[in-house]
Amino acid sequence: MIMAESAEPADLEPAAAPVAEMDLVRRAQRGDLEAYDELIQRYQQRIYATVYHMTSNHEDANDLAQDSFIKAFQALKSFKGGSSFYTWLYRIAVNKTINFLKQRKNRIHMSLNDLDFNTENNPDLVALISEKTPRRDAGLKELQEKLNAALLKLSEPHRLVVVLHDVQGHSHEEIAEIMDCNIGTVRSRLFYARQQLQSLLTDYLKPT
């Protein structure tokens, strides 16, 4: 299965029918679980992807994503519509994940998801590994592990900025809203995080 939405960074903000979304939210606020089911299906992939990229563990990501949707439902009555439901939901998921990571601190266990079949067709990735190993599959797997290990070495705020921007394609403004900080902070964190990653992944980064 392909995480289609997380693979399309330019199409992250739910542009389709914002009125319909608010309608779903209002119905869900009145306890309509069918409406909430619709909201879950609309955002489950993006929420899961963000949490997964932060934790590098499928089981943790599953628990945290489910907990985030449950908490959002319980807190739905307090949602006044000051921001989009999507941003509000994202904030819940991000805060939950950061709290979880603070507690987990010394228990880093990666259970990485498999790569989809499109990976081998990505010319950039193929170029990145082609000189490393003759066997492409092994190279991709190794690269995936190294990349996740490097990400886990970043602090949570820095990792979150990289995940939201470089992996999921959010804009600086969206990230600032989600993280409740200003755009300058987002930019500086992103720069610092990239520098860190670059030094951690020197062997895999060669100038193109």
Binding site: M1, M3, L33, I40, H53, N62, F73, N118, L147, R194
Partner: protein, 161 residues
Amino acid sequence: MNEDNFDTLRRLLELKRHEVPPPGYFNRFSSQVLVRIRAGEAGEARAAERVLATSWWSNFFQLFELKPAFAGAFASALCLLLVFGIVYADRPESGPQPFLPGTDPTVTSFAAMTPAAMPSATYDAGVMASNNPAASLQPVASLFGSENPLAQPVSFSPSGN
């Protein structure tokens, strides 16, 4: 901050987009969330029913558990009540009232009175204005002017011992 410096890194990070959960994962995800939400709601409803079903007595003690200050206040009130009761019992506000006007208030029963000690006016009138049932057993002056035979003095001489 030149974005081009990180171009290779950004392309490497795109590898993350290809990581996918197990097949069919998202088909089950929302139903699992809804099951947990329903289970939570059912759990809350059961808890509410349990609270309503319990007696007022257990609710009262549950209140103590929830608010220890209330338990303290309740215990203090009980202690005050107990102390007040003890103090009140030790210091009676009114002693025994004289049964009849002019009699010794320490004598509380006609049975303990000698006829001589009885107030003559009352005795003569033969009217006992009292609600005390014990009084009705006491000698009453005759309504026809004759003396009460029970009030006759007796002479008693102990046998020789």
